[in-house]
Amino acid sequence: MKELFDDIAISVDAYGADGDMKKTQYVLDLIGSVSNPETYKCILAASEQGMEMNCYALENLNDSQFDEMKGETLALRESDFIISGSEAIVAFIDARGLGYSLELKNAQLAAIQNYWVDIANVAFSDSVCKLIYGNVGKRKDKHTLTKDSLEKINLYLDALDKQLKNNKYIVCNKYTFADLHWTAYIHFILISDYEDLIDNKKNIQDWLQRIKSRKSQCGQEIVAYDNLPNKTDIENKKLSSVRIGDF
């Protein structure tokens, strides 16, 4: 994959060529899909941790470049290190970042956080992907699949709404990985024309408003949510890079 990154990414030598001093020591390059919530998680993590990241849309790769991805849909490069998969990339950015890690120290809170992360990644994501992408090759027809998926999604969203009743964020009054993962999926639902799924979920709506206005974890003047692609970006196959101007 190194050749692919060399091919499409901005040269490291050109970085900061305007003479500006930047605190970012490493240039992160991300290749991901504009319509994949796993990509959104990486963008949120980089924004939260104040890490500049050049993002390249998978949809804009030509055939030979796409083959270079070797079946992966998401990859990150930092210098000579390349890793794929959202779990690995998010963990890497969180550890490298300028802000405090999102990892919780309290055992119970950390366990609850990872329970919600797990539910989002394993159960919720499956239903969301079936709803939005359909499920090719399965016996059930698309209508049945949509109905099944919607029922399941509603079930998970009800549980999330209940969980948010007494908390500012999903686990406690602090932003955690659970919020990051759920933000990615809920944003994906919203931009895929399923806004009505959260119509009656007041606590989720309030939480989303907080997410949309909170300053990033690293304390810089950026709102992580603003870096996520919108409907127009998806049409234009555009993935915005994460830029940190406020050092």
């Binding site: 890793i83 690995a88 998010v90 963990a91 490298r96 309290n106 119970q108 366990a111 956080q113």
Partner: protein
């Protein structure tokens, strides 16, 4: 002088299933970090009312006093923080990323998907990795090793052909306190594992 006798803390209860790889991962981590646990083996397929409430996805489950949590990821998170022994926590970002990468692969390919060719491909990759490094993500123990350990306990695959995985597995057993002695077979760790199907 009157001192209130300190109430003895109840042991953590861990619900496990014989066919569930995460159960062995949780038992290993508890033993490695010397956390006192009581293991209760349950059968999600037995057809009782209780078994209907639990599914394979919810195991292992853990109860510590008033706190209860289920599913492997949160259970391991909890067991990795409580207690006084050092956590399994890579400091370097690259090791951390590799740990998560391999956990994700092991969980998807070895634990969930039932395609032998895919499993063999991954086991071959892990075997190669273990030829270069002491552990899966590098030269330090990470949770990725704990996940693979869980798989080795339920595997029907012939792991003998993966020489480096065999060496690594011996190393994993030697990491559990008091297991690398002559009386290892009577150790607490083995007692906890005694009902597992692979002897």
């Amino acid at each position: 002088m009157f001192f209130k006798k300190k109430k003895e803390k109840d042991k953590i209860k861990l619900y496990c299933a014989a066919e569930n790889p995460g159960s062995y991962s949780a038992i290993f981590l508890s033993s490695y970090r010397q956390i006192d646990i009581d293991v209760e083996w349950v059968d999600p397929a037995e057809g009782s009312e209780y078994s209907a409430l639990i599914g394979t996805n919810t195991l292992p489950s853990l109860i510590d006093g008033k706190f209860a949590i289920c599913r492997i990821f949160p259970v391991l998170t909890y067991l990795n923080i409580i207690g006084s022994k050092p956590k399994i926590e890579p400091r370097k970002a690259r090791i951390l990323a590799k740990e998560k990468y391999y956990i994700s692969l092991i969980e998807k390919v070895l634990w969930v998907i039932n395609i032998d060719s895919e499993k063999e491909k991954l086991l071959f990759l892990l075997d190669q990795q273990l030829e270069k490094y002491k552990f899966i993500a590098g030269d330090e123990l990470t949770l990725a090793d704990i996940y693979l350990f869980g798989f080795t306990m339920i595997s029907n695959n012939d792991l003998v052909k993966y020489k480096n995985i065999g060496v690594w597995l011996k190393k994993m057993f030697s990491l559990v306190p008091n297991q690398n002695t002559e009386s290892m077979i009577d150790g607490e760790f083995y007692k906890l594992l005694k009902e597992r199907k692979i002897a």
